[in-house]
Symmetry: C2
């Protein structure tokens, strides 16, 4: 008889890979209850360890959340690279694909997405988070330049990339906040992405 997926039991004193399991438990709980309303002790219960255990692996609660945010950024970036594959370099479809991944990620993992951007915890100071974010934005900029037929990013490309990022970023938040379904007409995400991509990339 299993005792609820809630709590893990273990026969060894040492855990094996507590750090990874705590991150996973944190991710789950953040998704379930939201980044606010997450508690370290609950993560401990899920992982089946004492409430003191996490502090061997993380400085504090915020660092646990940071770890989940970092993994989220990496997952998001991975999905982008994957999604680009079917499309030919230099096409608008690739820009649209990046936007699709962004909004889809937010919809599928709203808790983690909020963690990545919505919290006030000083993310500036988490270098790994900043670096992953910068790398992802680099991908966008390169795609925008490629649409011009260039491999070099110029000032206009940066500008357009920020416009695209702002748009999908806001769209994602509005989506997970449930603001889009209040519209009088059905909301067509794919059309919205394509329309904006075309407008921003137009001369």
């Amino acid at each position: 008889m299993k005792k609820g997926a809630q709590t893990q039991k273990r026969d060894t004193y040492h855990h094996g890979d507590l750090r990874a399991q705590l991150i996973e438990a944190t991710r789950q709980l953040v998704e379930e209850k939201g980044p606010d309303h997450f508690s370290v002790s609950e993560a401990c219960r899920v992982a089946g360890v004492s409430t003191a255990a996490p502090y061997k692996h993380f400085k504090d609660k915020d660092e646990m959340l940071h770890a989940v945010a970092i993994q989220g950024m990496q997952r998001q970036q991975g999905q982008m690279i994957e999604e680009l594959k079917p499309y030919q370099l230099g096409t608008l479809d690739r820009i649209i694909a990046l936007g699709r991944v962004y909004t889809r990620f937010a919809s599928q993992e709203p808790g983690v997405f909020r963690l990545m951007f919505g919290l006030s915890s000083d993310h500036d100071e988490v270098t790994e988070l900043v670096e992953t974010g910068t790398a992802t934005f680099e991908i966008v900029q390169l795609e925008v330049a490629a649409c011009r037929g260039s491999a070099e990013i110029n000032e206009q490309d940066v500008h357009r990339s920020f416009q695209l990022w702002s748009f999908v970023h806001g769209l994602s938040f509005l989506a997970i906040d449930g603001k889009l379904n209040k519209a009088p007409m059905p909301f067509d995400m794919e059309f919205m992405l394509a329309d904006v991509a075309q407008r921003v990339m137009a001369d």
Copy 2:
């Protein structure tokens, strides 16, 4: 000798206007420490009452935060109406003005802005919040229609309004998250707003 703006003293047993003062204390603290890291007891210390007092006026912590979010929405809406005044009806300048208020509000009150949108607390169920938000979006839609020279909002207007909203919403978040200053060139917010407004409103 004043005893630090920290704690209010009072000679009467009854407070007078505790609800309002608690909301103000909450707003201050949310701004200072961020929506996460806000504590009811600290607000009580600021207001100079026992930690049980708030529960005569609010169901729980979340309801206090909701109250601040609602006031934020109302303040934002007020600023929009004010900012529109100098500009002639039906001009792009009015669209730009709305965007300017949105991003400016976020920059000036990032804590409250995050509270209004960034938290997972079920804002759907706070009718006053939803209603104010809807009313504000109505203003945007009317301006978009007016740009077409119409007083009626059609489907395309709704569509464009969502594009504009998404954009300024995302831009605001990126701004308060400090993502915009990483750019290689200086970031010109006003130009960005104007450029996007023009692109979205173009035929």
